[in-house]
């Protein structure tokens, strides 16, 4: 027996038997009248009445194929046409207008499933729809910058590179990167009329917290949108560099001059004769002996040495150097020489192959050619480029533990200085030195997903720190509660509701050098990007909660009033009938 026809399934048999008995009893009572037509009629009505009575007890159910009530949540930017077409298909839709931060399903709304139109529900409101089958239809048209990438924290001398995507650009739309002081520094014209990627850049010159702007102008040059790009620019920190060479060369001399003038803390040891050295110290307060000891090597970020000096090192010293590279992250740049290319060295398995080029252009836009040795790096998996053009590595390094060991194939780069290309020379070496040097290790780090934070809207940050029990203070002195990650003990998350505009900061208590600077803006900025992000998040969030069976059949108990009615009528007839016919 199907298990859900009657609600009181368990009583089925007793009631059936009882009803049958009752009927038999009735027939028995009427038996004397068995030849009249009324007998058959009465028996029939009695059966009906008893059945109704039985059903009152059994509570039968019926298969109801009714539609579940659907709520249609309208969020920003929904497409009216889509709304109309949905309305056409469904008559009893509950239209819900979404307001950020307020409850979506109020008590009077009785929808069992939801469809979302438009850009979607804000991240912080998603929890409200956890238990309701929801479908995110999206279908909204977005025009403007939908994604943007740049480094929020950058260093003087670097380029601020702003890359992004622009959706549905009207032909002739001009994007302008504006520096503080309303100086247009770069611009691009979007012409395709479709989705386009763009890239804008400018040199960073001044330390501080600045608000760059991305301005959108239409083809007639009228500004129609302006969005802030907050950038924190930090100053350049000098590196501690040790140069060791077995004999003086011009290459080193010029490099030394450049690095010293650039304010780097430089120690140079040039061998003059056996055990006699020329020791030079630049931008350092105290002369320190230069030798291979762990303590001394630890202090340096970069060691520049030639192949001969490397060969002259004792086994002990090599081991020490290797350990420094591996554990402390010391960078080692080996001055290129023919010997270096042709023989193995102790520090890294750099391999070279002969080629016949002795000149190379590094910048395709300039005419300047660099001299090089007729060698090239043979491609190694673990070889990372320091400088390369189209996969051709000009200078490269191998990662050894935390440190790096590298070299270049360039010869006599000082020739650039002699030829007057000082700028090129500086750029080249600045890049090499910076990339191969030891990275300053910081023990704690803040991170936020978004580069812009809105007033009165929560945002999450993560903190990675080695501090056992970190505390984070907001700018106004309030302490932010932190939540530790279950699996990773040094990962913490927190949530803030910023209530003031402008630059704000979070500080890790006791480690004051670690802080997070973020820019709080009014809601009106970066709308298109925000919409795009919300839409993506919604898509991801509602991916699994699709309510495919929109038409759901369920068994509903049949209203017993019918049975009562039948029973009452039947009983009434049976009661009245003898009085009509017999009186």
């Amino acid at each position: 027996m199907s298990s859900n026809i009657f609600l009181n399934e368990t009583l089925f048999w007793p009631i059936l038997i009882g009803a049958l008995l009752l009927w038999i009893l009735f027939i028995f009572k009427e038996w004397p009248d068995r030849y009249s037509k009324r007998f058959w009629l009465k028996t029939g009505i009695a059966l009906l009445t008893i059945t109704a009575l039985a059903l009152i007890f059994l509570k039968p159910t019926s298969l109801s194929e009714e539609k579940i009530k659907t709520g249609l949540v309208l969020t920003n930017g929904y497409d009216k046409e889509v709304l109309d077409s949905i309305k056409r298909d469904n008559n009893d839709l509950i239209i819900i207008n979404y307001l950020k931060g307020e409850s979506i399903l109020r008590e009077d709304v009785n929808a069992s499933s939801l469809i979302i139109l438009g850009e979607g529900i804000q991240d912080y409101d998603l929890w409200q729809l956890e238990n309701i089958p929801t479908q995110y239809l999206g279908s909204f048209t977005n025009s403007g910058v939908t994604s943007l990438y740049y480094k929020e924290k950058n260093t003087i001398g670097n380029k601020l590179l702003v890359q992004g995507e622009y959706k549905n650009a009207k032909p002739g739309t001009k994007l302008i990167l504006e520096a503080p002081g309303e100086i247009a520094v770069d611009s691009v014209i979007l012409n395709s009329g479709k989705d386009e990627t763009f890239q804008l850049s400018t040199d960073l010159k001044v330390e501080g917290k600045f608000l760059y702007k991305l301005i959108e102008k239409d083809s007639s040059g009228k500004k129609f949108r302006s969005n802030p790009i907050p950038v924190k620019i930090i100053k350049r920190l000098p590196l501690k560099i040790l140069i060791i060479e077995a004999f003086p060369t011009f290459e080193t001399k010029y490099l030394k001059n450049y690095l010293a003038q650039a304010g780097q803390e430089l120690s140079v040891r040039t061998q003059l004769t056996t055990r006699r050295y020329k020791l030079e110290y630049f931008n350092i307060d105290k002369k320190e002996p230069i030798s291979f000891s762990e303590k001394i090597l630890q202090a340096f970020d970069l060691l520049i040495m030639d192949e001969v000096s490397l060969k002259n090192l004792s086994k002990n010293e090599i081991a020490l150097l290797k350990r420094s590279i591996k554990d402390d992250g010391l960078g080692v740049f080996l001055q290129p020489s023919l010997n270096l290319f042709n023989s193995k060295n102790e520090l890294a398995a750099l391999k070279f192959r002969r080629d016949n080029n002795t000149k190379i252009k590094i910048d395709p836009n300039s005419k300047i050619q660099f001299n090089k040795y007729p060698y090239q790096f043979s491609s190694e998996k673990d070889l990372q480029p320091l400088i390369s053009i189209d996969n051709y590595k000009i200078a490269a390094y191998q990662k050894k533990g935390l440190g790096r060991v590298g070299t270049s194939v360039l010869e006599n780069t000082y020739q650039l200085v002699l030829d007057g290309n000082v700028e090129q020379y500086k750029k080249l070496w600045s890049k090499i030195v910076e990339r191969i040097s030891k990275k300053a290790r910081i023990s704690s780090e803040f991170k936020i997903d978004q580069f812009i934070v809105y007033k009165d809207e929560p945002f999450n940050f993560t903190l990675r720190t080695e501090v056992e029990m970190p505390f984070v203070d907001a700018q106004d002195g309030g302490r932010i509660p932190l939540k530790q990650d279950l699996n990773i003990s040094n990962l913490w998350t927190g949530k803030i509701y910023p209530n003031e505009k402008g630059w704000q900061s979070l500080t890790l208590v006791k480690v004051s050098s670690i802080s997070l600077e973020y820019y709080v803006s009014e809601k009106a900025v970066w709308k298109s990007m925000l919409a795009e992000n919300t839409s993506m998040n919604n898509k991801r969030y509602f991916k699994d909660s699709k309510n495919e069976d929109k038409i759901k059949s369920s068994r509903e108990p049949i209203d017993p009033i019918w049975f009562y009615g039948i029973f009452l009528l039947g009983m009434g007839y049976l009661w009245l009938e003898p009085k009509l016919y017999e009186a």
Binding site: G157, G181, I183, K205, V206, T273, R276, E280, S437, I442
Partner: protein, 736 residues
Amino acid sequence: MDEGKNILLKFKKRWQVFLWLKIFIYAFGIAIFFGFIFSNLILAVPVFLFTILIGSLVLKPWGLSLAFISWFADSKIRDLEYSSGLLLQEENLSGLAKLQQQKIANRLSLNQAELKPEVNILKPTLISIILIIIGVVVFQFGILDLDSTNDNQSSDQETISFVPVDPLVGKTVPPSLTDQKLTLTYPSYTNIPSRTTSVMEIKALKGSTVSWELGFDSKLSSVSMESMGTSYSMKLKGDKYSRGNSLNVSGFYNFKFTDTSGNEYASKLYSIEVFEDRSPEIEIKTIPKFLTFEMEDDKRFSFNTVITDDFGIGAAYIIATVSKGSGESVKFREEKLLFKESVKRGEKYLEFSKSIDLDQFKMEAGDELYFYVEALDLKQPISGKARSETYFAVIKDTTNNQFEVEGTMGEDLMPDYFRSQRQLIIDTEKLISERKKISKTQFNTTSNELGFDQKALRLKYGQFMGDEADSGLDLHNQDTDDAQVEDKDPLAEYTHDHDGENDHNLVDKKESAKLDETSKNPLSKFTHDHDNAEESTLFTDSLKSKLRQALDLMWDAELQLRMYAPEKSLPYQYKILQLLQDIKNSARIYVHRIGFDPPPIKNEVRLTGKIDEVGNFEKLENLGDSENDVFIKKAIARLEGIIGQSSKITESDKLIFEKAGNELVLIAIENPGMYLKTLQELKTLTQNIKLSIKDLLKIQNGLIKALRKVKPKPTKVEKYSSELDSLLLKEMETNE
């Protein structure tokens, strides 16, 4: 009856209205015209009223009489039978007249429509429209713009406005400026009269003097001028403060004064732009840079020169150099030629022509003439000098195009005066050693001959000392021979005779003077000829005395030789040789060899020397970080804060802005005129004046634009790494 009169009265009124309308149209047109012309509509109102007045006086609309009206009506309407005058008379009319009056009144009322005032409205309307159009056109195209700009400038831009340094002083009435005067005097050579203006921005020639005069309406305790960080107080002369200065560098200045109650006021910054007197510009026209002539050609050419200068030309001439010979023996002769036309001093534009005949320079085949034009301007104290490019005129040498080394130069024809003394010594020694082998006669003869040789040598040197060849011996042949040898010296062409053969130069000054007189070379006055021994100034008096000493010794040496005592002669001869060597060497210029060729060493012994006493070389140098424009950068960052967070400007901010201003001044001087506005605004920032965000943005904009390029330099990169990272790395290594 009354009806007729009324018609006439009405008509009169109509007429008057037309007249007033005419006046109004004229006045309107003229007023608008003037309004546009002077782009000042307020002016139009009095012009309008004035024209109305004039117009009404001329046309007198009120003076219109009824008599005239009736006359007019009579002339216009025939039916009135010249009787409209009757309508005006009311009493004392005869019956007939009354009858006529009635009749006329009826007719007049019938023909009213024919009465139209004879006032031409069309003409004034047209004239007015034309006037208005002209006015609009003039206004639109700014034909008379000069007037308007002048008006504007004199009204507000020029006057120095003073702002209290301390903003709290605002309540008291500051003393105001009644007079401002700037007198600019150009250097006298420019012939530009001094100029007085009230514009405070200065643009003037270097070396000009400038003086300021400021007058105030009330008494002040002090007035000063600030320029480039220093303050100069202004002197009170009569009721005006003045100060003079000569301009040498570009820069900025402003005024500052303190009133009697001690409040300070400062003006905005003004620029001083100093430009240099440019050197003349020379352009040579009509000839190519290279001219070549054949030997048989007419070797003449002419050219035109245009010389221009910004403040007047002082002098102009041609410098021509003739070169003779080639290779090391090339000789130069320089001449200064004048143009045909004389130079008018102070002219700014001069055009000259000059024709040059190469024959005039006695040029031969292969000789070259280089010339250029040089011009001086009137600049003082050192006049500006400019020269044109060098032009060449060459006479082709077709005979000798290539230099060839012949294989037959074996004979050494170098004159050997000094060697001959040595030869004498050798011969004398030889003679002494052979004394026992040879006969006495032969010995004596040889000795005598040596004595003769010694004499010849003495005479030869004596010539250079001005001695006369008084020997009576026939030395002439020898002399001429020697001279010939000298003349034919094959190396003469390839040597420059300062060294080696310096004996040529030992001629007495007197003699050289004589020679000068006799020489007829017209160019000699202008040339400095190294090859001419007579003009040599190489030798000092001590050298002469040395030579004299040598000659005296030669006498002794000769005497001993002639006495057949060569042994006794030898010491003298040695001394002579010594002296001659000295003379020779003293005239030599030694050039030391450059570079060092180390002797080759064996590789095994390399770096094996004892170095116990040699230490390490140590050097400690602090080059510092050569960051430039530090305060400008700080100011930019601070402004960003002020603009973004609308925070207030503190005292320390002001210090930053002031220092940034000082840095900007340096940049502004390099690029005159570019950052003046920013400088002025930066100055106001330090003076407690509230500026709008827009102004702040402008300052920031200017500062950022003034920033110089950042030099590339490596920096330390910060990177977060946790235990997890190092664990991962270790794991990866072990699995490698």
